[in-house]
Symmetry: C2
Subunit: 190 residues, 2 copies
DNA sequence: AATATAACCGAACAGGTTGTTCAGTATATA
DNA sequence: TATATACTGAACAACCTGTTCGGTTATATT
């Protein structure tokens, strides 16, 4: 890829992320982005069809990156994912996010637009669906798969969001423990 | 309140809901609203500061209505909420939503804007917080309250959303059962 | 180094949206 | 009937969007 293209693209992303830390997606205008990225208006539109596509591509670059790395690790250390209990997948994800803490995860915060969480869930869903084959016979008769997947994905995602909202100050292990306890208490009160 | 005001307000709400069933909140313009409501532009702005305030007031009218009714019922049939297990609160909420199915709950669907879900959660949180005093001693030492409340609210809200996405075809009892099973399986896989 | 290619600039543009203003008209209330 | 209040309709500036185009600059190729 042309160095100019790459630099422009990065400048746009940087300006966009910068603005996202200050205001909502809806409140950000293309004018602000190109001013901060210091590029021409036409240039922006030659890179991204609209503001929405910019967001979409940013999320893809962000989350696909994270989840792809996880898939890679799975292939390298197969035992972690296939033999251990599924909660280690969650713990693994948390550690991954902690490692990749590039000030961009803040976008998942509840203070920001819901769109990030949606994209995040989208990717998480893929991961979960591919790993929930076990216990299928027990589950399938009583519980629709889509409900089950939605439940898992939502609880995971909301936990991650809570963590980020609290500045990721707890360790991944602590969060995993919180999650376990919350589910446990849930069974008690039901 | 002046009959004119009331009628205008209702016309705006009706047009707005109508449009929301067709497109996203972001895509709806004030121009479309006033055309469909058949009122003047200035009139709209004398009622609502912006489009966002319109959404806010609609949600308040909608959800406060639902949750206030629940609080009333609680006062009338005190036993349901204070003696029974907390899951009956959830079941109660589901039955309530089913009864109040005025084609407006569709707004909670994932196809629509996330803002509704946010407002819904906001109200749900109040309800949950006021009912989660039990088991406090066991919980508080190990699990932060905000995590616990967030977990409960999110799982409830996402369950309701799944239900609505599936056209509310299952009975409230079935959904409550799904919820119970999902949490149960969750403890198994952890 | 010379040339062709592709990206960028920047200024301008039409079309659409927002939120405000104001003089005039209709409706409620006393 | 008289007064207050809500609505009308049209116009308005300010802003945002997405496109166009001739000219400029960087990159890749030879």
């Amino acid at each position: 890829m042309d160095r100019r293209q790459r630099k422009t693209r990065e400048a746009i992303f940087a300006a966009f992320i910068d603005l996202l830390s200050e205001k909502n997606f809806a409140q950000i205008t293309v004018g602000e982005i190109i001013e901060r990225a210091d590029i021409g208006r036409a240039t922006f539109y030659s890179h991204f069809e609209t503001k929405d596509f910019l967001l979409k591509e940013l999320c893809e670059e962000l989350f696909c990156h994270i989840f792809d790395e996880m898939t890679e690790e799975k292939n390298n250390h197969n035992h972690i994912f296939t033999c251990d209990a599924p909660d280690s997948v969650f713990l693994h994800l948390l550690e991954h996010l902690k490692r990749n803490d590039n000030n961009v995860l803040k976008l998942l915060s509840s203070r920001n637009n819901e769109l990030f969480l949606q994209y995040f869930k989208q990717n998480l869903r893929k991961l979960v669906e591919s790993r929930l084959a076990m216990f299928e016979s027990e589950r399938s008769a009583k519980l629709p798969e889509s409900f089950w997947v939605n439940h898992i994905v939502s609880t995971f995602a909301e936990t991650v969001r809570w963590w980020i909202d609290n500045d990721m100050s707890e360790s991944p292990e602590t969060i995993a423990e919180y999650f376990f306890l919350a589910v446990l208490f849930e069974t008690i009160i039901l």
